[in-house]
């Protein structure tokens, strides 16, 4: 399938020049092991992707195998924001507020093409990818993705969690939006990210 093999995370590399000792790396391993296997997801389901997400959580695919069976409907007790579905501009401040309410450590999964890039909804009402509002760790492609796809994304996120190091201070840096515009990435970058591509360049009929 062209997927890269996952590295063996159990082997913690020891760098003699760093300040990390055996205890710190072992503690990292323990903490990351605990975190990765009990991620509490905050489901932000707005469209059909949420149906696939429910299927993933149901008995056949069973998110409990990843320690994620406890849906956290309060953002204050959640670890992972799973945005499943398209986000209209009217919901942009809501998902931003939910993200800000989640305590560290926290991660975000953009599930499906709409949450990742806006999909076919290249129109006046839909946010072109939630990464223009909040930082995203894992993008799951698909329209909607199969439960296996979401589980693969979750396993990638677990790998990411397991490779975190405590002495990396940048990991827990909170996103700081610009107080004036409330954007956390520069406006020209957002415009460039939201440029139409593929067939959608033919959709504008403003010359009528």
């Amino acid at each position: 399938m062209g997927l890269t093999p996952r590295p063996e995370h159990r082997v913690v590399e020891y760098n003699p020049t760093s300040q990390e000792g055996w205890v710190a790396t072992r503690l990292d391993f323990l903490v990351n092991w605990g975190r990765a296997n009990s991620l509490w997801p905050m489901p932000f389901g707005t469209a059909c992707c949420a149906i696939e997400f429910m299927a993933t959580a149901a008995s056949r695919f069973d998110l409990a195998r990843f320690g994620m069976e406890r849906m956290s409907f309060s953002p204050r007790q959640a670890d992972v924001l799973i945005c499943a579905g398209r986000v209209p501009f009217k919901l942009a401040p809501v998902i931003r507020r939910i993200w800000q309410q989640m305590p560290q450590p926290k991660w975000a999964i953009a599930m499906g093409a709409c949450a990742s890039s806006g999909n076919i909804f290249d129109n006046y009402a839909v946010v072109q990818g939630i990464d223009t509002i909040i930082p995203v760790d894992v993008y799951v492609p698909g329209c909607p993705p199969r439960p296996e796809g979401l589980m693969y994304g979750i396993m990638l996120l677990q790998e990411k969690v397991k490779r975190e190091r405590m002495n990396d201070k940048t990991i827990r840096a909170e996103m700081e939006p610009d107080p004036k515009s409330q954007l956390y990435i520069p406006a020209p970058v957002i415009d460039e990210l939201s440029e139409p591509f593929g067939n959608s360049v033919h959709q504008t009929r403003s010359g009528l």
Binding site: N123, Y124, A125, V127, Q182, L183, L193, L208
Partner: protein, 233 residues
């Protein structure tokens, strides 16, 4: 406001007529028009501009200034009894000179009739038409949506403001043909304006004017509100 609730059975005005069957081989144009169209012609004369049958549904084009009277008559008259308004919407055509059509979909449950009323609003004049809210209360949100998307002002509507787009939306009316698909502003500007909204603001500016009436509230409600309690939760 209304009398005792009375159950309306579909087809109750038709006596013992057999239950309708699903029509087959419906022609695109032509066919048996709804008998209400002839009754409308008789009742309103010139106000009825054109009657046509499209896919088995009768379209009646009416003069915009008489639309409210016509809808009221269709609702009140005992031989029509259009008691259900299923939709209010508008149509704009790609021909820039063609007028915008406001469309009402009316249903008569007792007579099992479906009627589509259309009123043409020329574009060189303000897009205004009388609201049918005084007849059908369900027209409230339908007309708000039509106003939000097309900019048609419904005169007499009690609370005509945007319903789908947010209150501060400044880009225009999205379903108009001169509206670019991606909106008028850049993506960053759209996002900036969207993020500037307060997600906890449940009330529009109009509704917030109730704060002016704070002193008139009952004492115990004032006390609760001063203690930080919010309504709407």
């Amino acid at each position: 406001m209304s009398d005792a609730f009375e159950i309306q059975y579909a087809g109750s005005a038709l006596g013992n007529a057999p239950a309708p069957v699903t029509p087959r081989n419906v022609p695109n144009r032509g066919g048996e028009p709804n008998p209400s169209a002839a009754a409308l012609r008789e009742q309103f004369g010139d106000a009825i501009q054109r009657v046509e049958v499209v896919w088995g549904v009768t379209n009646v084009y009416v003069r915009p200034e008489r639309a409210l009277d016509i809808v009221r008559w269709l609702h009140d008259d005992s031989s029509q009894r259009y008691d259900y308004l299923s939709d209010v919407t508008a149509v704009e055509f790609r021909d820039m000179d063609a007028p915008i059509e406001v469309v009402w979909h009316l249903r008569s449950l007792p007579f099992r009739r479906e009627l589509r009323l259309k009123a043409q609003l020329p574009k060189n004049k303000p897009l205004e038409i009388a609201s049918v809210w005084s007849i059908y209360k369900c027209a409230d949100w339908l007309e708000r949506e039509c106003f939000d998307m097309f900019g048609v002002r419904f005169v007499g509507h009690p609370d005509l403001r945007r319903i789908l787009m947010w209150e501060q939306y400044r880009e225009g009316f999205p379903l108009r043909k001169d509206f670019p698909l991606r909106g008028r502003f850049s993506r960053a500007e759209q996002l900036r304006q969207a993020l500037a909204a307060n997600p906890e603001a449940r009330y529009s500016m109009e509704e917030l004017s109730i704060a002016d009436a704070f002193e008139d509230l009952p004492t115990e409600m004032r006390k609760r509100l001063q203690g930080g309690e919010r309504t709407g939760e």
